[in-house]
């Protein structure tokens, strides 16, 4: 039987150097990309109880909890713009997760605000509607909750409860229009095949404002990066709501009910809420707002430095490349500014290929450190609305929307 340390040692090899980065790497000396179970700042018990483990059909990921399974993508994979399916993070709320077969799967479209309820088979879904492919970030609302200061209860995610994939599917609006959406339609209620262990536990059901459901970018996706969805990411089909946090991206989706009243389930009324007015966001879910708080909607502007590690060593007088990713709630990244002097001065980086406004956007910056010593590198994204990241966490009770500027300290010798 392995101890945790032995387990880490034996599985390290598969994690280091993932695929080819979009740009050539820097010259690094003595860099030792240690297996990363999460950044400094996570609770001590979080780091002690984490380990690398592979769910069936997946590569080793950072285990946060076994049941329901919550597994995080190790940091090194974010040095690529697309997150491969086998390392894409896994997040469930309830623990009964059936293996759904494409043959038996049905999607029921109904609710009081449609004219003609109907059911779709998997073949009909693929055959009867025009396919669309969108590259989009799927990020858990609570990504980086483990860095909340003070810490709050919940899954203590580091940086990796997110991924960027090419989602292929059909527009939700094409499906709903076939059922005939009545003018009083207010929200669609979305359920998946997973269920809770006890009958008294609220099933994980979400609702989405009808305007967002009818957006041309909202999909029922059946492919991810050119392959069927992995089981743990929602096979055979899931909701994809580009720009909005992952809580709405229902996996193993089985029903879409169009309703004329606000849906009152626990996962809407009590969970996934943020204080009103605390975050500079555009999209609002008005039918679910209260005086005090509002459902989380779009993602905040964010970025990471993905090719440098704290303490990594470089040679004075040699070029250092800093690269990373940036993303937001779907407005598109305007620029990513980089500082190599701990925020005293900033320079715009060079943006990488554009995979659309919902995708990770890579960036890079090169500089030549002449002085020996420590350099604190920071990156700050700004989107096309002018929104940017924060230097201090905007505390909120559930630990959402962490977009504190990422900083990495390197040594030049």
């Amino acid at each position: 039987m392995y101890s945790r340390r032995q387990f880490l040692r034996t599985t390290t090899g598969s994690l280091v150097m993932v695929g080819g980065a979009a740009w050539a790497g820097s010259v690094a000396f003595g860099a030792s990309p240690a297996v990363d179970l999460g950044p400094k700042g996570l609770p001590s018990g979080t780091l002690e109880s984490a380990l690398l483990e592979a769910l069936p059909g997946k590569a080793p990921l950072i285990k946060r909890s076994y049941r329901p399974p919550n597994f995080e993508t190790p940091f090194s994979y974010f040095d690529n713009v697309i997150t491969p399916n086998d390392v894409f993070f896994v997040r469930y709320h309830v623990a009964n997760i059936p293996q759904v077969s494409a043959q038996d799967w049905r999607l029921s479209i109904g609710g009081e605000a449609v004219d003609k309820p109907f059911q779709l088979t998997f073949d009909q879904l693929k055959r009867d509607f025009d396919p669309v492919e969108i590259t989009a970030v799927n990020q858990c609302s609570g990504n980086r909750r483990g860095l909340s200061d003070p810490h709050v209860a919940g899954v203590q995610w580091g940086y990796g409860a997110m991924g960027n994939a090419k989602w292929k599917g059909v527009r939700v609006r094409d499906i709903l229009n076939k059922a005939g959406v009545k003018k009083e339609a207010l929200e669609i209620v979305v359920d998946g095949a997973d269920s809770a262990v006890l009958p008294g536990t609220p099933d994980f059901v979400k609702s989405v404002p009808i305007w967002k459901a009818l957006d041309e970018n909202s999909l029922i996706a059946y492919e991810m990066n050119g392959a069927p969805l992995p089981h743990w990411n929602g096979f055979p089909a899931r909701l994809v709501l580009p720009g909005w946090t992952g809580t709405y991206w229902m996996k193993h989706v089985v029903s879409l009910n169009v309703v004329s009243q606000p849906f009152a389930g626990f996962w809407m009324k009590s969970a996934y809420r943020v204080p009103k007015g605390k975050f500079p966001l555009v999209d609002r879910f008005l039918s679910q707002e209260t005086d005090a708080n509002t459902p989380i909607t779009e993602m905040v502007v964010n970025s990471l430095i993905t090719n440098l590690r704290d303490g990594q060593r470089f040679a004075a007088g040699r070029v250092v490349t800093v690269q990373g990713i940036s993303w937001d709630g779907g407005y598109g990244i305007r620029t990513v500014d980089v500082s190599v002097d701990e925020g005293k001065s900033w320079r715009p980086s060079e943006l990488g290929a554009d995979f659309g406004r919902f995708s990770f956007r890579q960036w890079r910056h090169v500089f030549t450190p002449e002085r020996k010593g420590r350099y604190v590198v920071m990156a700050k994204a700004i989107n096309r609305l002018g929104a940017t990241q924060t230097f201090e966490y905007i505390f909120n009770p559930a630990g959402y929307h962490h977009n504190v500027v990422h900083r990495v300290g390197i040594e030049v010798a």
Binding site: S65, P68, L198, P202
Partner: protein, 91 residues
């Protein structure tokens, strides 16, 4: 309770085998905690959420599990569970 445990034994069958590797600290009420919390979720949720919750924080978590999530924890069991969590995994 027996019925519930049986239901779990069937429903939780797909749970991952490695879950058994999780060990909670030895202290009074450990078995009660393992049985009550482990009914619906793996026990790693406890160390993962440490060390930062105080007694009030653990009490709030246990109350949420009972009142919102429907955990079948008896009135006289809840304080024992809170005591264990606060003393072993609390700040």
């Amino acid at each position: 309770m027996k019925k519930i445990l049986l239901a779990c034994a069937l429903a939780c069958a797909p749970a991952l085998a490695d879950e058994s590797k999780i060990t909670l600290k030895n202290a009074p009420a450990k078995d009660l905690v393992a049985a009550s919390c482990g009914l619906c979720h793996s026990l790693d949720y406890i160390p993962m959420n440490s060390v930062f919750l105080d007694r009030k924080g653990w009490e709030a978590s246990v109350n949420k599990m009972i009142k919102v999530m429907g955990a079948p924890i008896k009135d006289d069991e809840a304080p024992k569970i809170v005591d264990y969590l606060a003393s072993q995994y609390g700040k």
